[in-house]
């Protein structure tokens, strides 16, 4: 192996063991271990396979958007309209169901709405050269606003049984929720795309230097358009699982999820300035947040305090590596 590196240009700089030990993934693994130990001491019901698998149902829904959001942030864009896209496609699916559409039709409506909403974001960003943060602040209000106009303060609560099965089915002895299977499936796909294909490498190039990437012959705007559209599709998939699980759609659902999704991505080591981040880190961050939230639910911690702790985790995970590196530098000097 070592002899080959002399003749082939390596994909990355050589990584030593201590580098791995200080990586974001190691930090997250450490935090996960701490959370598991603390939670299992706090509640006797934490280390239960049924409970743990069941608790993935909720976080897996958000995690599907985290995956595409990771690609978006790596290429130096952002999309804060995702939760509003969930609400809009959720409400339209509800409307379709209320008008007697069958399950396939409802799915088509949901996915279509998400795709169009994402495409609209993408077109504004690429055709008018607007910054994605501004565009999606606008569409965040726009999409949820449309949902409110359609439905007002009401809610749709009747769906075909086969549609509800999508989000309410557990496979393998009633243990594994469909959401988890979908997340694992998408995680593998996006891991391959980002780390094993030329498209993935180009995303890093775009994120590190969009102008440079363009001069190297990458159609940067095409990538942006596809990524933002993909984010809309992922939001629609989340909406399908969410709506079918709770059999309700209303305009104020998934409120604040965009922040949670972005938080998880940043926690997973994706650089908010673009150009850096790994799917493995993001998956670990999903796991960490999921375990923290589940643990707090088990000891009946109110939702407000949960969001405080999620915020603290984000800050800790950002600050800790900086402090550690300062510490290492001082020791070397």
């Amino acid at each position: 192996m070592e002899k080959n590196t002399a003749t082939v240009i390596p994909n990355s700089l050589p990584v030593s063991f201590s580098d791995r030990f200080r990586s974001r993934e190691a930090l997250l693994l450490g935090l996960i271990a701490i959370v598991v130990v603390v939670n299992s001491l706090l509640s006797p019901y934490f280390l239960d396979v049924y409970n743990l698998l069941d608790s993935t149902q909720n976080i897996s829904e958000k995690a599907m958007i985290v995956l595409t959001m990771t690609l978006v942030i790596i290429s130096r864009e952002i999309d804060i309209s995702v939760a509003s896209i969930i609400a809009l496609s959720g409400v339209l699916m509800g409307a379709a169901a209320a008008h007697g559409a069958d399950t396939w039709m409802i799915l088509l409506v949901g996915l279509g709405t998400g795709t169009l909403a994402g495409l609209f974001n993408g077109l504004l960003v690429t055709q008018l050269e607007l910054p994605s943060i501004i565009v999606t602040i606008g569409t965040m209000s726009l999409y949820r606003g449309i949902a409110f106009i359609i439905l007002g303060d009401q809610a749709y609560t009747s769906f075909p049984a086969s549609f509800e099965d999508i989000g309410q089915t557990y496979l393998v002895n009633g243990m594994i929720p469909t959401q988890l299977i979908a997340f694992v499936f998408f995680a593998i796909i996006f891991w391959i795309v980002l780390h094993k294909t030329i498209y993935g490498r180009r995303l890093y190039a775009i994120g590190n230097n969009p102008v440079g990437a363009r001069y190297s012959g990458i159609r940067v705007n095409n990538y942006r358009l596809v990524l933002l559209t993909l984010n809309g599709v992922a939001s629609a998939i989340t909406a399908i699982f969410l709506v079918s699980r709770i059999a309700t759609s209303r305009p104020n659902m998934a409120m604040g999820w965009e922040l949670e999704v972005i938080t998880i991505a940043i926690l997973g080591g994706v650089s908010i300035f673009g150009g850096a981040g790994k799917i493995t880190g993001v998956i670990l961050a999903v796991l960490l947040i999921g375990l923290v939230q589940f643990g707090m639910q088990l000891i009946n911690v109110p939702g407000v305090i949960m969001s405080i702790i999620t915020g603290l985790l984000l800050i800790i995970s950002l600050v800790l590596p900086i402090i550690l590196s300062m510490f290492y530098k001082r020791r070397r000097a």
């Binding site: 299992s40 280390l47 069941d54 303060d153 639910q297 088990l298 939702g303």
Partner: protein
């Protein structure tokens, strides 16, 4: 070194597994309310705790989402199932959406009952209604009539648009207005939804006052919307020309009775409601009743409460408060 670390983590794991098994055996009954920070439910919790103390060996877990949504309650019930509580008492934010998760609870052997605001009958064993919905609806119209001399426009500031109980009462209020000639000069001009949030209810009431200059009365069948509407009437300078009535807590409404914004209002006693619920749940857990028509629960100081058709149980008729008796009741709840 790495191997030692892994071993240490595993050892802590194993230890925590063992330490968590031995456990004391109070019956754990969860009281899931529509949302936390709502005076009505805080009062019902006091009654529940009182019953728990009387019965002995019962621990009541008081919990609920921060905003009154079905999604929030679904998450909470999921974690209660994971905690293997012995029984769940719930005031539902949506009669349909919760059925899936409460069925799951019952499959795992956890009896579920609703109180105050019901779940559809396949999602619970019994429902304890505070009073007969028809009686409440007719009584509210009568109270409004007394306040505005049976003449003029009035509007409703309700809780959320899916709230089971509020919608039933409003239905019967409309029926009373239609059927009884006594109310022929009274006109219901609008039904709005404050979602049991103080700020939203306040804004809805304010909007009503501005939109309908001829408005004579506001009816709020919710303990959150009621004081918020009273505040709006004062802030808009309509004291003496618009009267507020509804269902509210004496302690929260007393100030508005003193300021002549409220002439009369009604409520059943939430303390009794929580108290009776715990007694009923205990009988369900101990399989003393099956929730069938004809079963009777001995509910401590509340006497015998029979189970009617479809698992319905009824506590009694609402009590009317006015300027004469408010001082007596406002310190109570």
């Amino acid at each position: 070194m790495n191997r030692k670390l892994i071993f240490a983590v595993l050892a802590i794991f194993a230890l925590s597994l063992f330490s968590s098994t031995g456990f004391a055996k109070d019956l754990k009954i969860a009281l899931v309310v529509k949302n936390l920070g709502n005076g009505f439910f805080e009062a019902s919790n006091r009654g529940a705790q009182e019953a728990a103390k009387e019965l002995g060996g019962v621990e009541v877990i008081y919990t609920g989402p921060t905003t009154p949504t079905a999604e929030g309650q679904i998450e909470i019930i999921r974690s209660l199932i994971a905690q293997k509580v012995d029984g769940i008492i719930i005031s539902a934010n949506d009669p349909d959406s919760l059925v899936t998760i409460t069925k799951r609870a019952m499959q795992r052997g956890i009896p579920v009952m609703s109180y105050d605001s019901g779940i559809n009958s396949q999602g619970r064993i019994v429902h304890l209604a505070p009073s007969d919905s028809k009686f409440i609806g007719y009584q509210q119209v009568e109270l409004m009539g007394q306040a505005i001399d049976y003449k003029g426009e009035f509007a409703i500031v309700s809780a959320s648009s899916q709230a089971t109980n509020q919608n039933e009462w409003i239905g019967f209020m409309k029926e009373a207005l239609e059927k009884d000639a006594k109310y022929k000069d009274m006109k219901l001009v609008a039904v709005t939804y404050g979602d049991d949030q103080t700020d939203k209810s306040y804004r809805e009431a304010q909007a009503l006052i501005r939109k309908y200059p001829e408005l004579k009365g506001i009816e709020a069948p919710t303990s959150v919307g009621f004081p918020a509407s009273g505040k709006a009437v004062i802030d808009e300078g309509k004291v003496g020309s618009i009267y507020v009535t509804g269902l509210g807590l004496p302690s929260e409404v007393a100030g508005y009775v003193k300021k002549d914004v409220v002439k009369n209002f009604a409520l059943w006693n939430p303390v009794d409601l929580g108290y009776s619920s715990v007694y009923i749940m205990k009988s369900l857990i101990n399989k003393e009743i099956a929730g069938k028509n004809g079963d009777v629960v001995k509910a401590g100081r509340m006497g015998d409460i029979p189970v009617r058709e479809d698992g319905l149980m009824v506590m009694g008729s609402p009590f009317v408060f006015n300027a004469e008796n408010i001082d007596e009741w406002s310190p109570v709840f």
